[in-house]
Symmetry: C2
Subunit: 317 residues, 2 copies
């Protein structure tokens, strides 16, 4: 299978690394080859693990009829949205990690994938390296779900930990920036928008419908003070920024907010950049998926698993 | 897709229930029908959720050329082994929850499935309702695993909790029997054999090879006393019966034993009949899957997910 990768940031580099380092083993495992035909970014980069055909013009990937699967790792909803539509419309499979794109334009993109009989996979969009998208969609589907919630943003979770250790909010934010967890503009993280995108994707997987993003009630951690966090700790509790989706009278409602979690709950122990997703199903009861919610290697591993899923499902023929 | 189900115990009844109760929803979701053509058990049973074509002779299922997928829920390695071989050899897909069968005869059965180009799925064999078999095989495969371990037997885990609460071993065992968790002959559970079967299956998924079952070092919980458990609690620790597989110098070693787990580890919080599987991968780091490890509904949900996996993979054509 011939692949084009558009957007070689942290995750993109991880994908190239894993596909290169594990090439022999994965080919032996699956009996087929994944060939990275071309990669695209604004600037050419060099990597210690291999050489790649580089272009700074993504049309060279979209116009290449030999490329049957495109990995979009630009992020956001500008160029990524245009690329996603063109990839699916032209009958190619799409793999991405773009929760923002799915939360805002998922309905249109899922329809395009279906109409064009191609695959659109996004395991890395929620929970980084944790397999949760596929297990929810393909493992837990016999259930009717009553609730899904999770600790979905590592930056906020790291900051809350630091505030529990005595930092003021602004200090914790600076620390998260210094550690490379928070972006220069951390609004998407601390205002809860990233968590909103992710719980929106999970809610789609559970109930088959995307809620209008404007209908999601979102409160971030930016109003929490060191005192709030310390008071909670004195009661044996912790604030966690939770994304939560539930169904009441047939209507899905989604909200994001900092919530107090007691030490008897598994989510209490989810620390630092770890994420966890908890589902409540009519047959399986409570199921929790836990692991690294971000980082080059973990997220790239999820993208690579999607690439091989396309390969094994044979839709590129 | 036409289905035959052999062995209608607790899990079998759960499978019939879910397939009946969720029939309309699942057909709408996947656009195809799963038809239970015949069910087999020693005695005919009646169910409030539907009527089924019953036989007490499993040959009526194996000889029916219209049945392309057989669900084996007898358990054990006697008749179940003969049935599994015949199903695969005759070019039908096999779904089971039988860790004992896989741990002892997996090599032969995997080869038969491959030779006959059919599917052999067993999500329910480990961790009951937790999706862990498929996520490990199809989600985390980019990793090289260093270790996999888990709390895999709900009966033992329940008994250890009761001993922490003050019961002697024999009392805890009787309590587990009264609750319906432990069988009349609980040897497989308390001596660690069931855990051995399950960690053997997980190890196959991680490294692609089954270890000879006789090479697995197994210690159960039957030598633990109330005093051991209380002493551990005073140190802020708990005994958990862990199945653990790791690779050292290219060699997989597996052991089952009661181990002390500290409260800073997620496995510490896995109580009662809950199970958890923890994997350590080269790219994803630590990932934990947690949920109900047993019970009619949870285990049946996993079997149903396998049935639909066969349906969607199209191998019955």
């Amino acid at each position: 299978m011939k692949l084009g990768v558009i957007g070689i940031g942290t995750v993109g580099e991880g994908v190239l690394k894993i596909l290169s380092q594990e090439k022999d083993r994965l080919e032996a495992m699956f009996g087929r080859e994944v060939e990275i035909k071309r990669i695209c970014d604004i600037r050419e980069k060099e990597f210690p693990f291999g050489e790649f055909n580089f272009t700074d013009n993504y049309r060279e990937i979209l116009d290449d009829k030999e490329i049957h699967t495109v990995v979009e790792l630009i992020g956001g909803v500008g160029k990524a949205y245009e690329i996603a539509k063109e990839v699916l419309t032209s009958g190619r499979n799409l793999v991405c990690a773009n929760k923002h794109l799915i939360a805002l334009h998922g309905r249109e993109l899922f329809t395009l994938a279906k109409e064009n009989n191609v695959h659109f996979y996004f395991e890395a969009a929620v929970g980084g390296g944790i397999p949760v998208v596929t297990p929810l969609r393909e493992g837990l589907f016999p259930n009717r779900f009553s609730r899904i919630r999770g600790v979905l943003n590592g930056t906020c979770n790291y900051m809350l930990k630091k505030m529990e250790e005595g930092m003021e909010y602004e200090q914790a934010l600076q620390d998260a920036k210094d550690m490379g967890y928070a972006e220069a503009d951390p609004t998407f993280d601390v205002a809860g928008i990233d968590t909103g995108h992710k719980i929106s994707v999970l809610s789609y997987l559970a109930w088959g419908e995307l809620v209008d993003f404007s209908e999601i009630s979102i409160t971030g951690i930016d109003k929490l003070t060191k005192k709030d966090v310390e008071d909670a700790a004195r009661d044996g509790k912790r604030y966690k920024l939770l994304g939560e989706a539930s169904v009441t009278e047939g209507r899905t409602s989604i909200c994001v907010s900092p919530q107090l979690v007691g030490c008897d709950e598994l989510l209490y122990s989810v620390e630092g950049v770890y994420n966890a997703v908890e589902t409540e199903g009519s047959y399986t009861g409570k199921t929790v998926f836990y692991g690294e919610g971000a980082g080059m290697d973990a997220t790239a591993s999820a993208v690579v698993s999607d690439i091989y899923k396309v390969l094994l499902n044979g839709s590129w023929n």
